[in-house]
Every structure is written in structure tokens, then in C-alpha cells.
Amino acid sequence: MSLVGGVVARQCARSGFGFTTRTIASSARLSLAQPVPKEQPAEPSAKAPLVKEFKIYRWDPEQPEQKPRLQSYKVDLNQCGPMILDALIKIKNEMDPTLTFRRSCREGICGSCAMNIDGQNTLACLCRIDREASKDSKIYPLPHNVYLGPAALLHAYRWIADSRDSYGADRKEKLQNTFSLYRCHTILNCSRTCPKGLEPGTAIARIKLEMATN
């Protein structure tokens, strides 16, 4: 509610538009306010638990000799939010606090919760849980690679393409090696999976063209 709305509401109260016509300061009104007996919300009808199995790739850095494994967790989807991130948080809170994952904005803008869900790289906070309880959901981390990923290269291109930036040549020089840029084989999985439609594949192609034609 905005500041303006609050002021208007109080002025309405003062003029007696169906509210109490006492003209009193807002704070005093709060302390004299009578709690209005709220209608008790109906008890949530006990839904039959809809249990889905999540298989999550786990590895303990404190016990590195133990091979990574897929650990199973059963979650009642009727007691859980709709997104994969909700399920992960529920598992961490209620079942296994050692489950570790990155997250921040929970609204699909920061990119922290990127992981491989059911074979596709997506953001956990944007990926809806498939309500089909008979199918299990597999969650893997993103692979860590020596080379630069599409996000980093997209960011690099943003600067290379900026006419106000005077370090274009240096940036391109940094990419002159086997690993940073040229591990890209134009598979285009990145453009397909980007939840924001940013087309990193296009940006990378543009860097390659610039590096080839200069």
C-alpha cells in the first residue's frame, strides 16, 4: 500500500465514509483498535500425500574418496511449493541439512540456482515440479569446466561490442587460445535453454567472426 493510499484512506475515515468518524492520529488509532474477529480459514482439507521421489547427485568434499552417488528423497508435493527450488529447500529443512546448493533471488533473474534438472540445464526456481508422482526427478550439478561457459562469453561480448569500451583488442587477445572461446562447437544448447532468451550462441558466433576478421 503506498504512502498516498494510506493518507487517502485515513481522510476517508475522517469524513465518515462508513468507518469510525473519530479524527485521531494514526498511532493512537492503532492502539485503540479492536481486533475484528476474523473468520477462521477453513482447515486445509487433508489432501492425500502426493509423494514424489527426487534423486539428487551428492558428493561430500570431507570424504573425497567416497564416489559421488544419487541419493533419493521422498517429498510430499501437496506440502511443497510448485518449483524444484521449493522441494530442495524443503528437503534441506526437513530431511537432510547437508544438502548444499546455491540460490538467491528465487525469481529467475540471478542465475544462482542453475542446475541440471531431468537432463536439462535450467534454474531450479523457474522449473516446475512434474506432478506425475510415478516418475522420479533427477537433479545434477552443472559440470565445472576449464573453458569459459556461454554466460561468461556473452558477458565478454557485451564489452567487445560496446563502442564506448576501449579495451576491445585486449579482450580479444585474451580469448586467443585453445580453451577460452574455441571449445565452442556451436551445439547451441545454451541458446535453447536460456530462460531469459539471451542467445549466448549468437554472441559467441559474433566474437568468433570479429576475431577472424580483424
Binding site: 498511532s27 568434499p61 574418496e65 537432463g119 536439462q120 533427477k138 551445439i187 547451441l188 550462441g201
Partner: protein
């Protein structure tokens, strides 16, 4: 939602101040120790030495993007192997004694059963056609055109 008036927020805050008891911090049950940045970095590096590489190729959902890409790679290497084998056979032919000129090749193929001729031509032509056409796609992409499907 509190609206701020000229008097300020203080009266409102006074009314809503929680009891002091809530502010008493709970006794910590877990002992922690502080380590320096350098020590933390050492621990991290030790972990990284043993960190396994998470699966990627084995778990990724089949999609048109990478299926075509891997088909391009596979057909490319298969065709290369075939071509190299054919070129090297020119070196091997005189040694082994099998002549490798057009007349002999034509005669050999003529003698094969029908179905082998059809199968053989398919096996050679299909990957070649796919790889060439997909190669054109790649060349178009290298000009930065037509890289995405969005309408």
C-alpha cells in the same frame, strides 16, 4: 501498512515493540572456530584436487541441438576414416598385389550381389549427404545468421 505522518514513526514503533526477552540471543550449541582466508583457500584447494567431474554427456536430455551436433561429429569421423583407408590402400595395393585402378574396381563392384550394392551406396551416401548439408548449416552460423529459432 503504517503511513508515516509528520509526528514520525516513533509512536507506532512504541506500540509494536516486541518484548526484550525476544532479543536475548539463544545460547550457542555449536562451537565454531575462525580461520584465515589463506587457510580457507587451502582447504578449498585440497577439496578441488579430489572433486569428481559431474556427469554431463551421460545425463543430458536428448535434444535436436546436440543430437544433430553429435551426428555431425560421428558422420565426420566415419567419413574421414573411410577416406583415409581408401587413400592408404593406394600405398598398400602394390605391396599386397591387388591392383587399384578404375577398371578393377568397377569389375569388382559389378560382381557383387544387388543388395550389397544398395546397402553399400546407402552407407556411404547417407552420412556424406547429412554431413555436407549440416556443414552448410554450420557455415551459415559462422556468419552469425539464423542462430536461433525464436519467432
Amino acid at each position: 501498512m503504517l503511513a508515516v505522518r509528520a509526528i514520525g514513526l516513533r509512536p507506532a514503533l512504541r506500540a509494536s515493540r516486541p518484548s526484550a526477552a525476544l532479543f536475548r540471543t539463544a545460547k550457542r550449541q555449536i562451537k565454531t572456530e575462525t580461520i584465515s582466508q589463506a587457510e580457507a583457500r587451502l582447504i578449498l584447494d585440497r577439496q578441488r584436487l579430489h572433486r569428481p567431474s559431474s556427469p554431463h554427456f551421460t545425463i543430458y536430455e536428448p535434444q535436436v541441438t546436440w543430437l544433430l551436433s553429435i551426428a555431425h561429429r560421428v558422420t565426420g569421423s566415419a567419413l574421414s576414416v573411410g577416406l583415409y583407408a581408401f587413400f592408404l590402400s593406394y600405398l598398400a595395393a602394390p605391396v599386397v598385389g591387388i591392383p587399384l585402378d578404375s577398371a578393377h574396381i568397377v569389375e569388382f563392384v559389378h560382381g557383387l550381389p544387388e543388395w550389397i550394392k544398395y546397402a553399400g551406396k546407402t552407407v556411404i551416401a547417407a552420412p556424406f549427404a547429412f554431413h555436407s548439408l549440416n556443414g552448410v548449416r554450420h557455415l551459415v552460423w559462422d556468419t552469425t545468421k539464423l542462430l536461433n529459432n525464436n519467432a
